[in-house]
Symmetry: C2
């Protein structure tokens, strides 16, 4: 059984999801952040959705809202990184496609109401969360760099292209939300494939 002490002392070292409640709250928090941003995310709503009293939030997350937001964003970062990493077997095009698919499915699932929670905290004003976002963007870019180099893109062009891939798809998710259409995301994804293709030769 998870104790308060364990959560408090091991939380940052092993930010896994030890209980169903924790898992549900982290998932709900990621959704809420992607939908409304951290500021407008309400712990009351999250607790209600997870079916637990508000007070329990502070049992599972002694650090309160800050800890929950942090874990929600890092959890999303790791999950997406794993999907992209797996798809690297199909080359850089596969990695781009996998990254695109994550956001595509999120947009469809939520009827364009929810976007990337990492972008949300990157555009917020909490310095700690901004730093977390930086690290996650960096990890995604590193995966793309590896894929690009494997795919025959010159090493000196790879970092710029990797930034382009992450930044443009993050922006495309936002534009797709505004337009309530998958077209922006799909078009950007297609443009990226041609851009990478051109960089190969």
């Amino acid at each position: 059984m998870t104790t308060v002490l364990e959560s408090a002392t091991l939380g940052l070292v092993t930010p896994d999801t030890r209980s169903d409640t924790r898992r549900r709250m982290i998932h709900g928090a990621a959704r809420a952040i992607g939908t409304r941003g951290v500021g407008a995310m309400s712990l009351r709503d999250l607790a209600k959705e997870a079916g637990v009293p508000l007070g329990s939030t502070y049992h599972h997350f002694p650090g309160g809202k800050a800890q929950l937001a942090e874990e929600a964003v890092t959890s999303t970062g790791r999950r997406v990184a794993k999907l992209v990493e797996s798809a690297r077997e199909q080359g850089i095009d596969g990695a781009i496609a996998a990254f695109t698919r994550v956001w595509r499915e999120l947009l469809v699932e939520t009827d364009f109401r929810t976007g990337c929670p990492v972008l949300a905290v990157a555009t917020g004003d909490d310095p700690e969360l901004t730093e977390t976002a930086r690290g996650i963007f960096a990890s995604w870019q590193d995966l793309m760099v590896a894929g690009l180099v494997d795919g025959g893109v010159p090493a000196e062009r790879a970092p710029g292209l990797a930034r382009m891939i992450v930044a443009s798809l993050e922006g495309a998710v936002a534009v797709s939300r505004a337009e309530r259409s998958l077209e922006p995301l799909d078009q950007v994804s297609a443009e990226l494939i041609t851009l990478v293709q051109a960089a190969r030769s």
Copy 2:
């Protein structure tokens, strides 16, 4: 002198800035939205920064927070559109450079604390503001389409490229904020120039 009646009846038709106070509050609102998002924007803070009592906010903006946010975002949209439109004399590269420069200067001015307010409302959960963001993105994309076609890009490729330009630079501003560096924005801008160049031939 501006009356409440005029503001209420003409607000949406002629959303100009009739007084210094209005101007200052709209400017402050745009900054706050770009920094923290609409939800975390406080009318108290805005009034304090503008040097007016909180109550005066509702004299100048009878529609309250919603009206102020709406005017702040549309004001930014028009201002940026004008800058891009002017730069189209220097071709599509000039338009991309102008769009890049707007956000570059904002990031430097605010030490990476403030991004594009249009992206902020596009990633928020207010449907009215999301629709406003859609219209502004569309206006920017239309300008890019015109520039691309003028620059010799085939008409059928122009819309996709225009979306790519707007989406990738919007995303790049967010990544630049997270990294506290202009490198992402500048690299994306450079990649866009090469992408457009390739599309010309």
